[in-house]
């Protein structure tokens, strides 16, 4: 009987932890079942290790149904015990005694991080994959019938098993005779990553796809993306809200993409050429357009054109299959597809095996990405907006490619990059937590993002109108007045977001 992931909890975090503990074995997957509240884990180990063998036994030979539920620190057990006083728990479901439930706090005590006691008597980390493996050890022994009745012996057994994974990960051993622990670990709680990312399984969110594309989470390109993200999260509460949503959406599917990319070099190459390198170039251009020269449009346009042309030349050498026109069309198709995912969540995750694209064409890669995203979750507003940015990027490359090596002023030349960027910025998704800002906080935020990102008054006008429409009835101050006095209201004069011609 099989192993399941509960879709009513935080299934993506569970999936990521399973990938980490089996060291990103591509033989791990999921299948949809008739019960929409869970998906079934499938596993064919690619090699034999103690940990992989254990997972194989749980998935393929266990006699009871074992269901893993990833929860956050607001979860309480039936008797009122908060999950953060146990970190995880394995138990028979009182309403279904044949079912073994594994529940664990994937947020690491809401970010405070769990600790346990090592063989040296000091506090050591208890990262999520280790926590999950510990609980699965209880489930395994309960299933095969050798779980000691004495709970101290059961803990000794699970902690000894846990040390097998700690060996694999190079983490210090746990003292199996000590069951002390709790919240508040000062050190790192990460595990050595196997997807080329950092922070696996700790609830932190990483650049999975970019790391896989460049083979390391430490690649300078990945570092650049992380810097941009972290700088904005620190600098602005509104930007922090936006990134939290964006990364939540991204984290839902990116571990699966990263694993597939690791298993399929041609897919890795296409993902890098279609998504990652353009994103890095796009971020660089967007940053430049908000730099010291932001008021000199002619210079910016020229710089952008030169940078895009240089990128185009390099890209055609690196990725000859990525013709700008077909890639632009593929991005548009993906953007449209994501627009259809904003309805209610599907009944359970429709996880299934997805065929990897083999023909190396942008449309096939975009379709594959769309399938992976669709199988994970609904509600991709922020990610869709990011794809619109990539669509803008590729449409400009397409236009430059069509122009040839020399601009043709008589044909009007390429469209304005700066205007297109502003149009895109004007459609940024609005954070749902916006009403939580008090009026003074909002003023500070508008000043900050107005100075650094939304520098054009027409963009601020559009955004001001959108904020007013969405939130005027949800705040307890005069939002219209605040926006007007801050220069965020007026007559909108901006065209719609980038659309494929």
């Amino acid at each position: 009987m099989p192993l399941f992931i509960d879709t009513s909890g935080l299934p993506n975090a569970v999936e990521a932890d399973l990938f980490q503990l089996c060291r990103c074995d591509a033989g791990l997957g999921e299948e949809a079942i008739s019960d929409p509240t869970a998906v079934q884990v499938v596993y064919t180990p690619s090699s034999s290790t103690i940990v992989r063998n254990r997972l194989n036994a749980l998935v393929n030979t266990s006699t009871k149904n074992i269901v893993i539920t990833g929860v956050d620190s607001s979860f309480i057990l039936p008797d009122g015990t908060p999950v953060n006083t146990v970190a995880g728990e394995t138990f028979s479901d009182p309403s279904q005694p044949s079912l073994i439930r594994v529940a664990y706090d994937v947020t690491q005590c809401g970010g405070a991080k769990y600790f346990v006691v090592g063989t040296g008597g000091t506090a050591i980390s208890f990262p999520n994959p280790v926590l999950l493996y510990h609980e699965l050890a209880h489930a395994f022994h309960a299933d095969i019938g050798d779980l000691p009745a004495d709970s101290a012996s059961a803990e000794f057994q699970a902690e000894t098993d846990e040390n097998d994974l700690r060996d694999t990960l190079g983490l210090p051993h746990r003292d199996p005779t000590s069951h002390d622990g709790g919240c508040g670990f000062a050190g790192s709680s990460t595990v050595p990553d196997c997807t080329g990312t950092s922070g696996g399984g700790t609830g932190s969110i990483s650049c999975f796809v970019a790391s896989a594309a460049f083979g390391s989470a430490c690649a300078p390109q990945v570092h650049l993306l992380r810097l941009v993200r972290d700088a904005w999260r620190r600098r602005s509460r509104l930007a922090g809200m936006f990134f939290a949503t964006l990364l939540h959406e991204y984290y839902a599917f990116s571990p699966r993409l990263a694993v597939d990319m690791a298993a399929c070099p041609s897919l890795n190459d296409m993902m890098r050429g279609m998504f990652v390198e353009p994103l890095i170039c796009f971020v660089g251009l967007a940053s430049a357009a908000r730099g010291p020269l932001r008021h000199d449009r002619d210079v910016l346009e020229r710089q952008a054109r030169d940078a895009l042309r240089a990128y185009l030349a390099a890209s055609q050498l690196r990725h000859p299959a990525l013709a700008p026109a077909s890639t632009s069309a593929a991005m548009h198709a993906l953007w449209l597809h994501l627009g259809g995912l904003n309805g209610p969540a599907p009944e359970g995750l429709r996880l299934r095996k997805i065929e990897l694209p083999v023909d190396g064409q942008p449309a096939a890669v975009a379709d594959y990405v769309a399938q992976v995203i669709t199988s994970r979750q609904r509600g991709m507003e922020c990610f869709r907006w990011a794809v619109a940015g990539l669509q803008l990027f590729w449409s400009r490359l397409e236009a430059l490619h069509a122009c040839g090596p020399i601009d043709r002023p008589e044909r009007g030349g390429p469209p304005s990059w700066v205007d297109a960027l502003d149009d895109w910025l004007a459609e940024v998704p609005l954070p749902s937590l916006f009403p939580s800002l008090g009026e003074d906080q909002l003023r500070e935020e508008l000043t900050e993002v107005g100075r650094a990102i939304f520098v054009e008054s027409r963009v601020r006008s559009v955004l001001g109108a959108r904020l007013l429409q969405a939130f005027s009835h949800q705040v307890h101050y005069d939002l219209d007045h605040t926006l007007r006095t801050m220069g965020w209201a007026g007559t909108p004069a901006v065209s719609p977001s980038p659309r494929r011609k």
Partner: protein, 193 residues
């Protein structure tokens, strides 16, 4: 209350992020720093002639939506357990000298997620928005000597010892006559009730 520990004051501050509202604790990114929490504090005074040792971390959380009663326990769940955790961490203990006071504080999730009976493979997780609480019961467990876990002590035995060790005091506070608390922003983002 002579010769005992007394809960002399209870503070209950609503989250500044009312917008994080309904169901957000499950929908929000795992570990999101924007998750709404309620800041709770309980001031206890030692009315005895000797030092008391008080549990200083939250060991019980429960909410009854029918009575709108929130229970926050710096103590183990009362009564005979319906489920004994396999490995509950030992409690944190704080020393309160004779005649002195201490403030116990906790961040209580604004929305608790409680497991309910389920007929499917997935759990039936019920979100409980405790911001609508009408009354708050704070329980504090304490003993005359420090409580220390023993080496290799199984969780059930530790919980049994805790039960024998602890005396429990409680204080019930009325939070609101009716209706949910006002949203944040109406009082500078925080409301002390």
């Amino acid at each position: 209350m002579a010769d005992s520990l007394e809960i002399v004051d209870v503070g209950f501050e609503l989250p500044g992020l009312a917008g994080a509202a309904t169901g957000a604790s499950r929908a929000a990114p795992a570990g999101s720093s924007d998750a709404a929490t309620i800041a709770l504090s309980a001031t206890v005074t030692n009315r005895t002639a000797g030092t008391l040792y008080v549990i200083s971390d939250v060991r019980t959380l429960d909410y009854d939506p029918a009575s709108r009663r929130l229970v926050v326990g710096f103590s183990e769940p009362p009564g005979s357990p319906t489920h004994v955790p396999r490995h509950k961490f030992p409690p944190r203990i704080r020393e309160v000298p004779a005649g002195e006071s201490a403030v116990l504080s906790a961040a209580v999730p604004a929305v608790l997620n409680k497991m309910r009976p389920s007929s499917g493979l997935g759990m039936n997780i019920e979100p409980l928005d405790v911001r609508a609480a009408a009354s708050l019961v704070v329980r504090v467990a304490f003993g005359d000597a420090p409580f220390r876990p023993e080496q290799a002590e199984p969780s059930p035995r530790m919980l049994l010892r805790l039960h024998d060790w602890a005396r429990v005091v409680e204080k019930t506070t009325t939070l609101a006559a009716d209706g949910p608390p006002p949203p944040a922003g109406s009082a500078g983002g925080k409301s002390k009730r």
